[in-house]
Structures are given as structure tokens and as C-alpha cells.
């Protein structure tokens, strides 16, 4: 019994320590946003834009078909019960409020978060971070800050793309390829969507972006000595990111809709 209690205590203590470290790390990066040194702005801007390109633009060919599949699939299912539920409201509830942010975050974790974790681990392991420091440059400013800005902006953009494609694209696919009656679907969506839905989407995207970036960077920087630590760290980062996103999603939904 003592052994089990000790094990649980150690795990809880380690988890609390890890979460505290993540918050401290987030704080460190956030402070950099509000500091405005003259040096490095152009470089930070370029790396941020590159990150937006890698995370958002390059993900479009993947997220658009997925959004179309989800949108049309949900419309088909909900038109069957349209007598019982408001189709527009149901779509807004499912896609804009819940599925959109989560699927977008999931795709970003699969594509970019793992890539960032590996990249940072590699940079750390092979002394590239030391090389940046030897140039007199703060790695937090040229490595962490642009990735935070880039990934968060990319998630926000992808989330908007996902919602639009899932709703409008899904509607068009059903309208073109089937004879399923959908009534005045777009008007229903227009009536159902509120400013809160849009604000919640933006808030979720921002929090997901922060959680994903910080978790991946933290795990990346934790790799110090062995190359075999890179896959372990990456896998931990991906799982943690997904878990944190789900938790954040639930908390924000409870705060705004309950």
C-alpha cells in the first residue's frame, strides 16, 4: 500500500513539476513578445512567416479534403434527423464549436508539432543552439518566439479554413452529388452562428497554438545527450499536446456554453 501511495505521490509530483515548467516556459516566451528590442525583428518576422507557411499553407492540401469529408458526412447524417433538430444549429455546434478546433489541432500536432519537437531536439543535441548563443543571440527569441507566433497564427487560419470548407464545401458536395433535401441550409447556419461561437473558436485556436508550441519546444529542449531521446521526446510531446488540447477544449466549452 505504501509502495502504491509512494508511486502515485511521485507521479503527481513529477506531473505538477512538468506542468509548472511548461507554464514558466510559456511565461518566458510571452515576455519576449512584449519586449521590443531593435535587433532581430526582421529575422523573427521571417522565421515566423516560414513557420506559418510550413504549418498552415503546406497543410491546406490535407485539411481541405478532411474538412470536406467531415462536413458532407455530418450533413448527410443530420439531414436524416432534420425534423428533430435544427440542422444549422447542429452543424455550428459540432463543427464550429467542437470538431473544427480539435481536428485542426490534431492535424497540426501530427504534421508540425512533431516536426518542431524533432527540429529543436536535433538543434539542441548537435550544438546548434550553442552556435546561436555563441553568435550573441538569444535562442528563445529566434527559435521559440517565431514558432509560437507562427504555429498559433497557423492554427487560427486552419481553423477558419476547416470551418468554412466543412460547412460550405460539405453543403456543395451534397447539393451537387445527391438529392438529399437540406432546406435553406446556409440561412440556417447564418441564423445559428453567434459572435460567441466565433470568439470561442479564436480563443481555442490561440490556446491550442500556445499549448502545442510550448509542449513541443519544452520536449525538444529536454533532449541533451542521446539521439535515441529524440523519438521518445517527440512521441511524448505529441501525446501531451493532444491531451492538453482536449483539456483546453473542454475547459473553454464549459466556460462559454454551460
Amino acid at each position: 500500500m505504501d509502495y502504491i501511495a509512494g508511486y502515485i505521490g511521485r507521479k503527481a509530483s513529477s506531473a505538477t513539476n512538468h506542468i509548472s515548467n511548461l507554464f514558466a516556459f510559456t511565461y518566458r516566451i510571452f515576455v519576449l513578445i512584449f519586449q521590443k528590442p531593435e535587433a532581430g525583428r526582421a529575422l523573427v518576422r521571417r522565421i515566423s512567416l516560414e513557420q506559418v507557411y510550413f504549418t498552415c499553407v503546406q497543410a491546406l492540401p490535407i485539411i481541405i479534403p478532411i474538412a470536406l469529408v467531415f462536413g458532407s458526412m455530418l450533413i448527410i447524417q443530420f439531414t436524416k434527423v432534420s425534423g428533430q433538430y435544427d440542422l444549422g444549429k447542429t452543424m455550428v455546434m459540432l463543427i464550429v464549436r467542437e470538431l473544427g478546433p480539435v481536428i485542426t489541432a490534431f492535424l497540426v500536432i501530427l504534421r508540425s508539432a512533431t516536426a518542431v519537437a524533432i527540429e529543436i531536439s536535433y538543434m539542441n543535441l548537435f550544438h546548434e543552439i550553442d552556435a546561436i548563443e555563441m553568435a550573441g543571440i538569444d535562442p528563445m527569441r529566434v527559435v521559440c518566439l517565431p514558432r509560437l507566433i507562427g504555429i498559433t497564427s497557423a492554427i487560427l487560419c486552419l481553423f477558419i479554413v476547416f470551418d468554412l470548407v466543412a460547412i460550405i464545401g460539405g453543403y456543395l458536395i451534397i447539393w451537387i452529388f445527391t438529392y438529399i433535401p437540406m432546406g435553406d441550409f446556409i440561412t440556417q447556419i447564418g441564423k445559428a452562428i453567434t459572435a460567441t461561437d466565433i470568439a470561442v473558436g479564436i480563443i481555442k485556436a490561440i490556446f491550442f497554438g500556445i499549448a502545442i508550441t510550448v509542449t513541443c519546444l519544452k520536449h525538444g529542449f529536454s533532449v541533451k545527450r542521446l539521439i535515441t531521446d529524440i523519438p521518445v521526446g517527440t512521441s511524448k510531446a505529441a501525446v501531451e499536446c493532444f491531451f492538453y488540447c482536449l483539456v483546453i477544449n473542454v475547459i473553454i466549452s464549459i466556460l462559454f456554453y454551460m
Binding site: 535587433a39 526582421a42 550544438h127 546548434e128 548563443e133 555563441m134 538569444d138 529566434v142
Partner: protein
Amino acid sequence: MYLINLVDYTIDFPESGCSFNKMNFALSRDDAFAIIGDSPDQAHMFLKALAMLVKPVSGDFYFKDKKVDFSDYRNLLPCKKKIGYIASDSAMISNITVRENLLFTRYYFDDSLSLSLDETATKLCKNFGIYDKLDIHPGRLSSVNLRIAIAIRELTKSPDLFLFERPEDFIGHTNFDLFTEVLRDMVLTKLPIVFISYDKDFIEEFSNKKIFLKDGTLSIG
């Protein structure tokens, strides 16, 4: 005025089993130290300590007579910027091109991305034969060319102190004479250097003092 002054400086490097206990070391502007020691790991670690890449267990590090605060890595950055460091663990940033690596510090501190290599860097790149490879990523360079690019980056950063490890191996024997020539010009400007080399002629030519490392203790000769 000392450029670097280590007082009761203790460092521990458990992975390689090396440590220095309460060492004292002072380096002035016209010093050129050759490190002589039985253990390459220990010599490398000493070089790393001078480059502020190892956090001390205890003791004081003075850079240009100002005490360096190791509690926050950001305090070290202005000092590190003034140190040229060529060693086995020197690296280039792999996700940008060689040209961008050579310009990285200027990109940052001049706050502009529309810069071109200065005359010295261009000349060195041409002389060392990597000028046509500037627009590829470091990972695509051969190991010799990669090390040459690192050396050029460090040589052109206008350091106040130059630390280098086994240049005869790092640069490669074919380019060693070129490196020696560049270094000779730099040393003429009274640039302090600390280096590890197994080339006796090189040691004789470039050092005016020697650091003997044995069992974690340091003596100057």
C-alpha cells in the same frame, strides 16, 4: 586588464569524467596559449569553459574585468558574441543555408535580411573553395567543407578572443596552410588565442605561453 580571469573556478563534466577544481587562470590581450595535456577531453572541456559553454559549480568568471553572472544564460550572450570558437562541437544551423549562417549575426544585429557577405568573408570562402556552395544547406556539405564554413564564420565575427581545437584536423591538412596564414594576420593584431594542437611547429609559431593540464589541475609555463 585581463580579458578573461577565472578565480577559484570549479567545473565538473560527469559524462567525460573531467573536472577542474578551484583553478585560477588569467588571459591578457597579447596572450597566445597552447593547451598541453594528456587527456583531449580535459583540454576540450577547458576550451568550452573559456567559451562559457559550461556552467561552473563554483568560482568567478571575469570577462574584461566584469564578473559574469551564470545564473541566466542571457547575461553570457554579449560575452559569447566576442569569442570565436572552433572545436569539435561547433555547429552550423542546419535549417538555413551556409550563406545565411555566415550572415546570421548580422541579420540579427543589423536587423536586415538584405545583406551580402563582406569582403573578408567572400575572400575566405573563395580561398577555401566553398564560394560556390554558399547557397546550400550545411547538411549537404562534405564534413571538411562544413568545418571550413564554421571556421570562416568564427574568423569573420571579429572576436576579442579566439579559441580553437586541433586546427590541423578540423580544417583538414590541405587547407591548414591557408588557415595558418589567416591566423597569422589575426595574431599580428594582438588577438588573444587559446588553442589545442598536436602540431609542434604550429604550437611553436603561435603560442607565447603554455597551459599544462594534468589530473584536473592547471599550470602555466
